[in-house]
């Protein structure tokens, strides 16, 4: 699978990541090489094989539905780029 200029721009958009226009072709080349490596998997026979998502095949642990966290809002917001009255500020979304 080889990716071209427009594929890379589409993927970068899906990842919400700006790329320098001048670097898109270099990324297309690198990503195509990586996909070339990955395509070696096609030769593996996996018809009857179960997918593995957890190394120890553990089930997700459940916990009692109780409040365990303290309120750390002020501490967490102290490192935010932009905060007013306890709210995170971003550019206007709704006109």
């Amino acid at each position: 699978m080889s990716l071209d200029h427009s594929d890379v721009k589409k993927i970068a958009h899906l990842a919400r990541m700006a790329l320098d226009e001048s670097q898109v072709d270099a990324y297309a080349e690198d990503l195509s090489k990586i996909l070339g490596l990955v395509e070696q998997l096609e030769a593996a026979e996996t018809h009857a094989i179960e997918p593995m998502s957890h190394p120890l095949h553990m089930a997700q642990r459940l916990r009692v539905d109780e409040v365990t966290e303290e309120d750390c809002r002020d501490e967490n917001q102290a490192i935010a780029p932009s905060v007013v009255n306890g709210l995170y500020l971003v550019p206007k979304v709704i006109e």
Binding site: R16, V38, L41, T46, L56, R63, N76, I79, P91
Partner: protein, 489 residues
């Protein structure tokens, strides 16, 4: 020379009052000041905090309340959140991030009384095998400053090898503890997946990431692991398994130990000099009474391609949290919300992180999921089953940690696929979730070489025992790089 001693030796010196933790801490801070300009092993140092911790350690020692790690100076890989201290993960994205909390590993080590000297350099978000993707510049291998220290825990490995700290923490997603340990001539243990809490350890690939100790020798690794391991309710994948006394079994005899040698780990691509060094170490194990058995891990060739679907897929999901809204880097004057996301991420991430996010995004996108991600989860199962089969007949598996010794700075950085193949022997254990340790064997042309020992799930005590017995009879782990033309201390 205090810096040439191990944790075990320094612990004895602290107990008898030969030196204090404050003296020890000052000594290491001075070494960092003097030597790290040329190595770049640390992103930040925290001298005031370190000296305060050393003073409390000295009081604990005087009061007879010291444990084996009390007053021992270490460094933390900059992937672990440290309250009130910059936690960059090697990225511009987190250059301004002062963590509001401690990772569980950090909390546990503080509780054990260690002194933290600072934060170790690393590949950006732990994505790299050479420490060249760090926003803070590459780390230089202390054995040859023109070579890489390995990665992603390259700063941790260099700090321990250059004796800038007695021990360090690392993390290993595809070899990031073992490969730099091999390149720098130290002992690096990646425990079983889930053995150590991932809480507060900045996530790269959550089904593969595991923290571990990087030390001079296996006896020190046992002490570090003892403090780091254990169940943590804050990490939903942390294993609820008892933690054995890792130091108690270090010297157990190895008579009858069955060592499996996978033929796939000794084939094409392996440097013959590295092979000879590893084989000499295995011969030593035979003299210690071990039995060597040829085995096969037939799906080994699938490990690297499987990893480069699973790890990027998980990373693309994990790194979506870096969006310029709540913490970390934000671009200047965003014109709308989408522009804020895109430019904050575009400007905040380096090239390798961008490549992996894009591969993962692509592999998980509509129409490609089955061909890439589902397929890789199945081949992951095949790789894991190979080990399951092997451990029916052997106790441990041995082979080289890396195909070659440390390569030159800049040599592979422009070719991602060549760089990825450097982790060919380490990646499979992460996919299977198994523990592995790298220990120094005979160097090749003055460059360290690592022997990798892989064990079954939760057999860290056995791995450390196997490593320690070798280190009791050999000197390779004591070799130190020559960093100063005139010894000043």
């Amino acid at each position: 020379m205090m810096h040439s001693k191990s944790i075990v030796e320094l612990g004895a010196g602290l107990q008898t009052g030969e030196f204090s933790s404050v003296e020890l801490t000052r000594h290491f801070l001075q070494r960092i000041e003097r030597l790290d300009k040329d190595l770049n092993a640390l992103i930040s140092t925290t001298p005031e905090q370190a000296l305060a911790e050393a003073e409390s350690a000295d009081q604990a020692i005087k009061a007879g309340q010291a444990g084996p790690l009390t007053g021992i100076p270490i460094v933390q890989k900059d992937i672990f959140c440290t309250r009130g201290v910059k936690t960059s993960c090697g990225s511009k994205m987190l250059d301004n991030f002062i963590s509001p909390y401690d990772a569980t590993v950090v909390e546990k080590l503080k509780h054990a009384g260690v002194v933290s000297l600072g934060k170790a350099n690393m590949d950006e978000f732990a994505m790299g095998s050479s420490n060249e993707t760090s926003f803070y510049g590459p780390v230089h291998n202390p054995w040859d400053k023109g070579r890489v220290p390995g990665g992603s825990s390259g700063g941790s490995a260099t700090a321990v090898a250059a004796r800038l700290a007695v021990a360090a923490t690392g993390t290993d997603t595809g070899g990031s503890i073992r490969q730099p340990a091999a390149f720098c001539g130290i002992t690096g243990l990646k425990p079983t997946y889930g053995r150590i809490s991932r809480f507060g350890m900045i996530a790269f690939a959550s089904s593969l990431d595991q923290a571990g100790p990087m030390t001079r020798d296996a006896a020190d690794a046992a002490l570090m692991l003892q403090a780091m391991a254990g169940f943590d309710p804050k990490d939903s994948t942390c294993a609820n398994q008892p933690v054995p006394d890792y130091s108690a079994t270090l010297s157990d005899p190895l008579e009858g130990l069955k060592i499996g040698l996978p033929r796939e780990y000794f084939g094409e691509g392996l440097d013959p000099a590295v092979a000879a060094s590893v084989e000499a170490a295995i011969d030593h194990y035979k003299r210690l009474g071990a039995e060597v058995i040829d085995i096969s891990l037939p799906n080994s060739g699938l490990a690297v391609p499987t990893y480069y679907v699973v790890a990027p897929a998980e990373c693309s999901s994990n790194l979506s949290r870096f969006d310029g809204v709540r913490f970390g880097y934000r671009c200047q004057q965003p014109k709308d919300l989408e522009d804020l996301y895109k430019r904050s991420r575009g400007e905040g991430f380096g090239a390798e992180v961008k490549r992996r996010i894009m591969i993962g995004t692509y592999a998980l996108s509509a129409g490609y999921y089955d061909a890439y991600y589902l397929k890789a989860q199945k081949t992951r199962h095949l790789i894991s089953d190979d080990f399951k089969q092997a451990f029916k007949t052997v106790d441990v598996i041995m082979g080289p940690t890396t195909p070659t010794p440390a390569f030159g700075l800049g040599e592979k950085v422009n070719d991602p696929v060549t760089m990825y193949l450097n982790d060919i022997y380490t990646i499979a254990t992460n996919l299977a979730g198994l523990p592995g340790v790298s220990i120094p064997v005979e160097p090749v042309n003055g460059l360290p070489v690592g022997l990798q020992i892989i064990g079954n799930y939760f057999t860290e005590a056995k791995l450390l025992n196997v490593a320690h017995r070798f280190q009791q009879e050999t000197e390779w782990h004591r070799l130190t790089p020559e960093l100063e033309s005139v010894a000043s201390d």
